[in-house]
Symmetry: D3
């Protein structure tokens, strides 16, 4: 796994924000709070996520998505939002929406897992602050989560793929685990070769181990261990 570092309160305005670095990948994850919920929410609060690449974050300039987003962006946003909703009790912040914005400064593989991890830390800090400021009675934080990507390259398991790895991988999976080691989300494809179950299980185990390390590190950073 690449070196991870977290720079808390990187931005001036939002409730919380984290600049997460994983190797050469850097993502700002921030939490903004609004006192409305989308119409499909019948009780409790809501948490949603948005994901965006800065145009200069990729080796060839990425065209801004100003007339609708690509399928890739839509898919990634959904994974981030779904995963982070599992980390909180949305009944605990009824009437509020937490928007987690994940803006990629530098993309070198693993932007979706880096977004989830930075988002997790930002959400944890936001929960603490909501409690401190009397917005909620008790912290909505339910369980830390951790995200790790993993793939098979030349038959070998590689964890936390950078861009060069990613483009050579035979399969490419993203895992999100709860702090008790249970599975939150699996999303992956055998892009070159169908994957043997035995190999998949090794991948799952190694990914869990890395995710749990990351969760531990994030807790330390948040002073919430």
């Amino acid at each position: 796994m690449r070196d991870y570092s977290f720079d808390v309160d990187f931005l001036v305005h939002p409730l919380s924000s984290v600049l997460t670095r994983a190797g050469n990948t850097r993502v700002i994850s921030s939490v903004s709070l609004s006192d409305t919920v989308p119409s499909h929410v019948v009780s409790g609060g809501w948490l949603t996520a948005e994901y965006s690449l800065l145009p200069a974050s990729t080796s060839t300039r990425f065209k801004r998505e100003r007339s609708g987003v690509s399928g890739r962006t839509a898919e990634i946003q959904r994974i981030i939002g779904r995963s982070l909703r599992m980390s909180v009790d949305m009944q605990a912040f009824s009437g509020y929406t937490m928007t987690v914005d994940c803006d990629v400064l530098d993309a070198d593989g693993g932007t979706r897992t880096t977004s989830v991890n930075g988002g997790m830390l930002a959400v944890a800090i936001a929960c603490k602050r909501m409690q401190e400021r009397g917005i909620v009675e008790k912290s909505p934080l339910k369980s830390w989560i951790g995200a790790v990507s993993g793939g098979i390259i030349d038959g070998e398991i590689v964890i936390d793929l950078d861009y060069e790895h990613d483009s050579r991988a035979e399969s490419d999976f993203n895992f999100v685990f709860a702090e008790n080691g249970r599975i939150i989300e699996i999303q992956g494809t055998a892009e070159r070769e169908p994957l043997d179950e035995k190999v998949f299980l090794e991948l799952l185990a190694e990914s869990r181990s890395c995710a749990l390390q990351l969760i531990k590190k994030m807790k330390t950073v948040a002073g919430l261990e």
Copy 2:
């Protein structure tokens, strides 16, 4: 698993088409062939998929996506396309694009797996016809694939969830397997409770078994056993 039936050549015009029924869910999957490829394709052919719900396919009318598609639609299209690309050798139909359109007539859960399965059968038939018509020398079909959804309801494993199941499920996974039993795609979330690995593995095993049955059935329908 619900009853599956396949109605081949349901439509008049496309190269191939299948009306697939899984319980109360019905999807038309069709293959259209064009002699161009997208600009990102450097060699070989391409296969892409689109997914759409008819407005009257859902219990409350579904608003047509006429100014961009939702994240859900984008995500499903990508899963269908990625999975089906693993079933063919795209070098074998260089310069051509196969577009797999999946239009849902009735939605009662499992529309994405039904789309993949109907798409698989339509792709297999299309491959045979491309060879028969001399468009390609040998059939581009590489491996049949089969898709199955599975979830945990009240702690029990349920395969091929209908809408009522789906809305109660604690976790909700979609699996795609190759005919040799290997993993093509896993995409799933623990929407209520993080999932224990042991339970996940049972889910994986049962899903594989059902997917292999489906592949067998589709081969029979195609007369390609």
Copy 3:
């Protein structure tokens, strides 16, 4: 006129639905009911229609209209909606909107008249059900309507043009009649040669005769004769 057949309750969810076949043309017309009306409606209910071609319904794949609809689609939707509004008393379902979705499975000419006819049958059945379910006191059905296309090919009148006819026609008209034989809508163009009034009148008479036959057939199907 081509063979017409009507397959009632083709879909699972909507209030009513009909799969209409006219030769090789097939259209699903369904009625969905919602308990709101558009802001321009000051009293009574409303009926509106949408029209869409499945991508695989045409001989060359038809690109989905996902960023706005073409002028052709807009024009057809308006004709269907205007015509069907004449079949009902909208004061009789105050506060409700009937949405008639016309989705073309196979297009071989005459998709707009097939849509109107299938829509008529679906509307009639919907009206009966609204009354049976106590949503309205008496059926809002005011008059059955029937739609027929007609054109001039090599100087000869042809009724209910298929695609091959349509592309050769010197003029191309669509007629909608009430069950008492009166005119509801005429929309047509002399696409190659201006049309003599005498010939137009013959076209009108033959079209009326066919429309009245269709209405009779639809009433039988609906058991509402």
Copy 4:
């Protein structure tokens, strides 16, 4: 019929332009020539039309159509374009597109027929100029056309309806005739009451008579009698 007046070359830049007044309705119809044709044109030239209401042209301000056009606008544009294509021989200006822009300054009913008539005069003048400037060998003008609206109000035929008439009309038809009296386009709906054929035929006859008067007047204005 209301007073009609034509103000030729109202604009500075286009190949030809006409400000047409019909009662309180005023429309600028202009012809711009470009040396390309749309991809669907396989031989000859093309003529297309666009229609737009100025925001201040209606009694309540009309919102600019800046993110797609309404169905009404789409339908009207198609009628104008279809009708005017019948006035020219498009083989005679191969490789060129004539774009007829119809911009409504004041709307008081009959904007589509006023657009067609102003467009006809602008097209006729454009054809003359294309010949004079050596762009084409002979004038592409094939037949003058004239457009008239007509409706039934309290059982009486009214020709060239203004807005107040239009909102009370039981049926509302638009007719386009060639200079030899033949029918080019009929587009109309019985918006309140189905229309008796006998009454329709009177409407047709009166409309033709008015259209032929208009054609005569336009020819005088163009000096092309």
Copy 5:
């Protein structure tokens, strides 16, 4: 400066309208009143502006902006709206929005300044009428404003640039002044050569002088001197 003429009440429907001619440039500026204000307005009324080129207003046909407006249009609209808001006391028409539509019939340079000037006259007349009709107690008119463009061509100052001037200008500025000679808006760029301050000050002085002449002329036209 080119000849300016103002044709008041050019349109039938809006509260006020002016056709302004500056040389070969012609713009319709109209004021429509609605009894709502945008959500960002916390007290008082609002004034906003829209700007549009007719397709045939330019030497090469200008494509209608039907799927979003260009940056140029957006920028011009903002300048017109900002300037005209300085001419009125928006507290005096609380709850109302004045929409100033500037539609360019012929573009030969200076369309934004011509829009502002025609808009000013239309706003002044609208204010008088709002008072006369009892919509407001006293006229919201606070100060007349006048707009003038100026540039440097071959080192010489030119005021009120036409298109030919504009395309040769080394710098190109737009000035808006209040009737007391003070500055309302400056917006300009040295498009070829950075501009010496001394030359800029001469440009400013000459532009002010012309703007004050224009204001005088507009007052005379409005009978509000």
Copy 6:
């Protein structure tokens, strides 16, 4: 003027990038090079700019502009692009486009001037690198430029307004100067009170002085003094 700092090569991938801080405002300006030019460019290269606020950059979350940009964004982008084009000789990088992306991390007033200044430094460094890498023969850098905002608050001149200043300012101007002190761009409005010319001239002088200081500082940072 607030403290300015420049962090060169803040991003991994683009040709050059600068994180510019002005007080609490932070903007990333980067230069990406592509070997195409827009169709309106007849000779030489091109430079264009894009501007975007991160959602969390503002005190209330800013909604991503994913279906078209606001007028404010469009206007700012144009100012940045126009100004920076004056800093380079576009004939010197024929066939190439420099895209200057300005992404605001924290917004506390002056984001457009901060974008221009960071853009200037990034462009200067990009020019040097283009020469070093043999893409161009000599550096396309023609003149450094510097941007400063200034306004009048309670009758006093304030330079480089932060958000609190900006919202109280009677007038609000943005100036761009060349390194020889000449004027490149002025864009400003008296938002509360028309501005006296004398005061404007003081504002202009102070702004120039600050802009020249900034240019000096940027040259030092670039090592290009």
